[in-house]
């Protein structure tokens, strides 16, 4: 069962917390970070003064009720923006809290040591007292008290607390699956673990801190956008300030309420109010996809990726190669061959060997394979063969083509031409041929094939349309690699790859100015993870890999990179579209407010009142009400993000420009008119 990923947007307790925070955030010391909303707050304050002024007896600024109403709406505008930000933060925090629950104090079985020597004594201490380098012991049923690396033993571990995935995983000392995360539970066996993180600096601690600090740091793109928005705000300060002398010249006194309303309507409050919520929501979306980004910048960069490196095994193909066909040599009965294949593979513990037994089981029932009195010869990487010496003296061997060939040729038996041909044919089709011999005579060939994951072709096609180049990394020979690359639809491949090759490839791409992402888990992946612009480490990977990458995937799912790219793009798109929408809205607001400002003293300008709004006051009110309520209405969009469609940049721009640009021009005309109709019935 996956952890519930879709919490409803407006969850009761989150909303309550967000409401409280909206008021806390009114503090100018917090709000000044957001120049757009900060100016609105100043406007609100001025309106408050105007209201007090009227109470003291001023008559030039219009009725108290009208001015007070404007004050309230402006205050609501700021509160709505604060609410959007607070809600996004609350959602992030809720996510973090659910993770933090796993961090509650757990007892740790600390192994006492004397210098380098481990003593047998075990002391129960609280997890918070564990230091880096301490060694603890876990057995069935224990909660792992801290992040660490297994130094001894193997265990099945339930990581559902972190990943939401209930299927247990195996972690063992040595290799790339040696890392355990604090908060997970050992289901079976015993392990000794060395603590790799100081208290408070564990992986989860960092994650929680990151989610909670999401608002504190602005990403480079956010800073640039804030500059743009500040620029727009300045423009409208200029417009509104100069309007005062213009109106003096035109003998048209404009009340303060109208000035401030015009100003607040024109500055990009919609995007200004939602900007930080969009950023937080982006990281939150990554978190929901069980990816932890170490910084908001990493998520942004993901949207820009040009090239991604994917491991073949597990990403493009399902696990390991599988036997798909048996080809008997001339004069050999197929069933005999299959039987021989199955018998010779019984001692082969590799997944390939198991798959041969499995495939042969379709033709021959497993109980027919009697191995009584037989000697099993185990598969070894040196001989690259496995086999069986049966009771009746028959020696069956199965293995790599050249190994078996040598075996048979050395014994003076020919290597049949049709077998040679078959071997080459299988190789060129991306498969792996294994040859089978009986008493050193060739009797047939087994074909092993990579099974390409269903649907992977479509995913690569989608990436290609986004402009992302996919590169498959594999240890296979170039011929096999090419075949699989073509079949899976990746753009390029690195065959016979060593870890250095990945690093080299990433550097080469980066020199061409491209942004590269890769996913890895092993310590030997660490340099490449660090070099890549986006390095996604698997949670199961080594501490070094997790340290080197700038994202960690809790699900250990190699296809996660694709999701990460989309999250990054969504984040940027949401910003862009809402900016466009916000600015496009100004057209209608101008047509509502400008005639309202001048209609009384310059009747000719009533012709600009194309919406036929009821009165100057109702026009101004409608505009600022629309301006305020559009913020909460767009919160769902800001939090969910604008849907990304891989249809090419120009088509995407056309689409978004017509929805958010053209829509942004038309919608407020309708909205303001509707609000005006309602107001005019009330008045």
């Amino acid at each position: 069962m996956k952890r519930q990923r879709k919490t409803p947007l407006f969850q009761g307790d989150l909303v309550k917390e967000a409401l409280k925070q909206s008021f806390v955030k009114l503090d100018p010391r917090i709000l000044y970070r957001n120049p757009v909303m900060f100016t609105v707050e100043i406007g609100t304050f001025i309106m408050l003064l105007v209201c007090l002024w009227i109470l003291k007896g001023d008559h030039l600024q219009g009725s108290f009720a009208y001015n007070f109403f404007i004050f309230i709406i402006l205050l609501l505008t700021v509160l709505f923006a604060n609410f959007a930000e607070a809600l996004a933060e609350a959602r992030g925090k809720a996510q973090a809290n659910s993770l933090r629950k796993t961090r509650e104090e757990t007892p740790a079985k600390l192994i006492q040591s004397f210098g380098e020597i481990m003593l047998k004594e075990i002391k129960i201490v609280s997890s918070s007292l564990l230091k880096k380098g301490d060694i603890f012991f876990c057995e069935t049923g224990d909660i792992v008290p801290a992040d660490g690396e297994i130094i001894e033993g193997i265990a099945t571990i339930d990581e559902s607390a972190i990943t939401g995935e209930s299927a247990p995983v195996i972690r063992e000392a040595g290799g790339d699956k040696s890392s355990v995360t604090g908060g997970t539970r050992v289901l079976s066996d015993k392990i000794k673990v060395k603590v790799t993180a100081k208290p408070g600096e564990s992986f989860l601690d960092k994650m929680i801190a990151m989610v909670e600090n999401a608002t504190r740091q602005k990403t480079p793109n956010e800073i640039a956008l804030t500059i743009l928005l500040a620029g727009f705000t300045l423009i409208f300060i200029i417009v509104c300030v100069t309007l005062q002398p213009f109106s003096l010249y035109a003998h048209t006194p404009i009340p303060i309420a109208a000035f401030i309303s015009l100003f607040v309507c024109l500055i990009p409050t919609t995007i200004g109010g939602l900007l930080s919520a969009i950023g937080i929501a982006g990281m939150d979306r990554a978190l929901r996809a069980n990816v932890i980004a170490k910084s908001g910048k990493a998520v942004e960069t993901a949207g820009d990726l040009d090239t991604i490196l994917l491991d073949k095994t597990g990403t493009i193909t399902i696990g390991n190669r599988k036997a798909t066909n048996f080809y008997p040599a001339a004069g050999v009965n197929e069933n005999d061959l299959i039987k021989a294949c199955a018998l010779s593979s019984l001692a082969d513990e590799t997944p390939e060997g198991k798959s041969i037994v499995e495939l042969s089981g379709k033709n021959i029932p497993i109980n027919m394979l009697s191995t009584e009195g037989a000697t099993l010869i185990k598969f070894s990487a040196e001989t690259r063969t496995s086999g069986v010496n049966l009771q009746n003296g028959i020696q069956l061997r199965k293995g790599a083509a050249d190994a078996i060939k040598r075996l048979s040729v050395d014994a003076g038996n020919p290597f049949p031409e049709e077998i040679q041909k078959k071997v080459e044919e299988i190789s060129s089709n991306g498969g792996t041929p294994l040859v089978v011999s009986e008493n050193k005579k060739i009797i047939g060939v087994i074909e092993l094939q990579d099974i390409i994951k269903p649907g992977i072709w479509e995913r690569f096609e989608r990436l290609r349309k986004m402009g992302v180049k996919t590169v498959m990394v594999t240890g296979d020979n170039p011929l096999t690699a090419k075949y699989i690359a073509e079949k899976a639809g990746v753009d390029d491949f690195i065959a016979e790859a060593k870890p250095e090759d990945k690093l080299e490839y990433i550097r080469k791409e980066q020199q061409k100015g491209k942004l590269v992402a890769m996913m890895g888990d092993g310590t030997n992946d660490a340099p490449a993870l660090a070099q890549a612009d986006v390095g996604v480490a698997m949670n199961s990977g080594t501490a070094a890999a997790k340290e080197a990458g700038n994202m960690v995937d809790l699900d250990n799912d190699p296809t996660k990179l694709i999701e990460v790219v989309e999250i990054g793009k969504q984040l940027l798109m949401t910003r862009g579209t809402l900016t466009t929408f916000s600015i496009a809205n100004d057209v209608a607001k101008y047509f509502a407010i400008v005639p309202a400002l001048f209609m009384v003293s310059i009747p000719a300008l009533a012709s600009l009142n194309i919406m036929h709004l009821y009165s100057p006051q109702s026009a101004i009110l409608s505009a600022i009400i629309f301006n305020a309520i559009i913020i909460p209405l767009l919160i769902p969009l800001a939090l969910k993000g604008v849907a990304y469609k891989p249809i090419g940049a120009s088509a995407l721009l056309r689409r978004n420009l017509s929805i958010y640009g053209l829509g942004g021009i038309i919608l407020p005309f309708i909205g303001i008119k509707l609000i005006d109709l309602i107001i005019s019935t009330i008045i």
């Binding site: 793109n221 423009i235 213009f246 402009g467 180049k469 721009l653 978004n656 420009l657």
Partner: protein, 564 residues
């Protein structure tokens, strides 16, 4: 079809037809390829470079470019002030015109150095022939400055990472001698053959049909009129500018002058395409600009040919169109055409009085200057457009889900900051200038500043600052700007700031971008040379300019239009 309209359409087509090969030629000049004038000028240039110890092959970074640009302008500025203040006793003053006062000399020099050519003097009485020649020199210098700046930006837009962007002296000299000089020469010859004076003799005297003795001002006029048009300067030899019969004697000279006003500005867009080998990009930019021009041009021509309803009410025939303030030899359509072409570029020479145009035409004329980048002044027009491109790239880049980039370079916070400052400058100068003068008039209603009260008076003030800030130099002329110290000082300040900051900004952005890593295009990259992006740029320009100036326009031309 109406011959007036046919004439205008032919003029339009001829301009574009000439601009394409000319753009190719400009690209060759800036790329350093051999051109037909090399044999004539190479040796002279070599000589001058040697004695001034300048190595024209030494490449500069963007900061060095800007320092050089400002130094050249400052030195010529000081030289110009000195000459104008002492012209009375200097040679070539047959009419015995007096020296300029320091403030008038300051205003005039600023105006000519900044390519604005707002003239607070009358050519016939205010300057000597030497003064006129110096002003002509400035018309070359200011146009050459703008073009050299755009050459730096062209160089920066190449597909590579670079710090060094050519040599400013080289770009500057080449702009003057290989581009401005040859066309000016051709235009001047045509003018001379059509009756424009080109002499150092003093005033001529004729007896009119009524028997009066009339003194006719002469002088080295043809050469000045040529460069004033070609270099989008606009400052005429005579006070009445190209409405004066000796500046613009015939319909033919009107066509030639009109083509030369916008020729280089259009050609530079094509030059960009040839230079960068990005013809589609150039076509996109050209498309946006030409549609912008047509949007102003067509309604203005229609309005002016329809006649003025207020005058029609007086019972005066309007079949020839609204002819108040227009020359009969040119007609309403050609005058309307000129008014738009001279304001979308930062030229500012006039062949009719813009003050007398119908209100909406007046608004389109002002909008051309408010945008100031639909072709715009030579060189600087593209620089202004570049700012809008950067803003459009930023917003649309986000909309397609990538951090924004233009021609393979990432646009980040620093570039955005510069772009926003430069964009803000224009509305800031125009609106605050107009606000200041509105306020002064509000306090002192008796001031003899405005010839017209009400909305039209407001338009006159708005026009003056728009024209100064756009470095255009044309006036609504209803404004009593000649004698007033207020207008001299404020407009002088506006011209100076609005000339150099909008050159510094785009060159800085281009220089910063040039230094960045080049990112090759992918399917996810937003291509700048598409119709979609063109629409985006157009929308950004339209919305930003509309939002900045709507209130001012509503109180000026729009109020006047609805009050008819």
């Amino acid at each position: 079809m109406n011959t007036e309209i046919t004439g205008v359409i032919l003029m339009f087509i001829a301009t574009i037809a000439l601009a394409i090969p000319f753009g190719k030629y400009i690209a060759k000049v800036y790329a350093g390829e051999r051109t037909f004038l090399d044999p004539v000028f190479n040796r002279v240039e070599k000589f001058f470079f040697r004695i001034s110890r300048i190595d024209p092959n030494k490449e500069m970074n963007w900061k060095q470019h800007l320092v050089t640009l400002l130094t050249i302008n400052l030195i010529w500025f000081l030289f110009g002030m000195l000459m104008l203040m002492n012209q009375r006793w200097l040679p070539l003053n047959p009419d015995g015109n007096p020296s300029m006062t320091p403030d008038c000399a300051f205003n005039t020099t600023v105006s000519f150095v900044s390519n604005t050519n707002l003239q607070h003097y009358s050519g016939e009485t205010g300057v000597s022939y030497l003064g006129q020649l110096i002003l002509q020199l400035f018309q070359f210098i200011s146009a050459g400055t703008g073009m050299a700046a755009v050459a730096v930006v062209f160089c920066a837009l190449k597909e590579r990472t670079a710090d060094k962007l050519g040599n400013f002296y080289n770009f500057f000299i080449k702009s003057c001698t290989r581009i401005l000089l040859p066309i000016s020469f051709v235009v001047a010859i045509i003018l001379v053959f059509n009756g424009t004076p080109m002499t150092f003799k003093g005033k001529d005297t004729i007896i009119s049909l009524q028997g009066d003795t009339v003194h006719v001002s002469r002088g080295p006029a043809a050469s000045m009129i040529a460069i004033k048009q070609v270099g989008t300067n606009g400052g005429g030899f005579y006070g009445a500018n190209s409405a004066h019969p000796l500046e613009n004697p015939t319909y033919l000279t009107n066509v030639v002058e009109n083509i030369s006003i916008i020729l280089i500005s259009i050609a530079l867009v094509f030059a960009l395409g040839f230079y960068l080998k990005r013809k589609k990009l150039a076509l996109m930019i050209f498309g946006v600009m030409i549609i912008g021009v047509l949007i102003f041009l067509i309604p203005t021509i229609i309005q002016e040919m329809k006649g003025n309803s207020a005058i029609a009410k007086m019972g005066i025939d309007q079949t020839a169109g609204s002819m108040e303030g227009k020359e009969v030899r040119l007609g309403s359509a050609a005058s309307a055409y000129w008014s738009i072409i001279t304001t979308v570029t930062s030229n500012g020479s006039v062949n009719a009085m813009h003050d007398s145009f119908t209100p909406l035409s007046g608004m389109f004329i002002m909008l051309g200057m408010m945008i100031n980048s639909f072709f715009g002044g030579v060189g600087v027009g593209f620089l202004n457009f570049y700012i809008f491109i950067i803003i459009a790239v930023f917003i649309s880049g986000l909309m397609v889900g990538r951090t924004p980039e233009f021609l393979g370079k990432k646009v980040e916070a620093r570039e955005m900051k510069i772009a926003m400052i430069i964009f803000l400058l224009h509305p800031l100068l125009i609106l605050s200038g107009t606000a200041l003068s509105s306020y002064v008039i509000h306090i002192h209603p008796g001031l003899p500043w405005l010839n017209n009260p009400g909305y039209h008076g407001f338009s006159e003030m708005l026009y003056e600052y728009t024209s100064s800030s756009a470095n255009n130099g044309s006036g609504f002329e209803g404004l009593g700007d000649t004698p007033s110290v207020f207008w001299n000082i404020t407009c002088g300040f506006v011209m100076l700031v609005s000339r150099f900051l909008p050159i510094i900004g785009p060159v800085a952005i281009a220089g910063l971008l040039a230094k960045k890593k080049y990112i090759p295009e992918s399917a996810g990259t937003l291509k700048a040379d598409t119709v979609t992006f063109g629409i985006m740029v157009f929308a950004v320009i339209a919305i930003l300019v509309a939002l900045s100036f709507f209130t001012a326009l509503a109180l000026g031309p729009i109020a006047e239009y609805f009050s008819k």
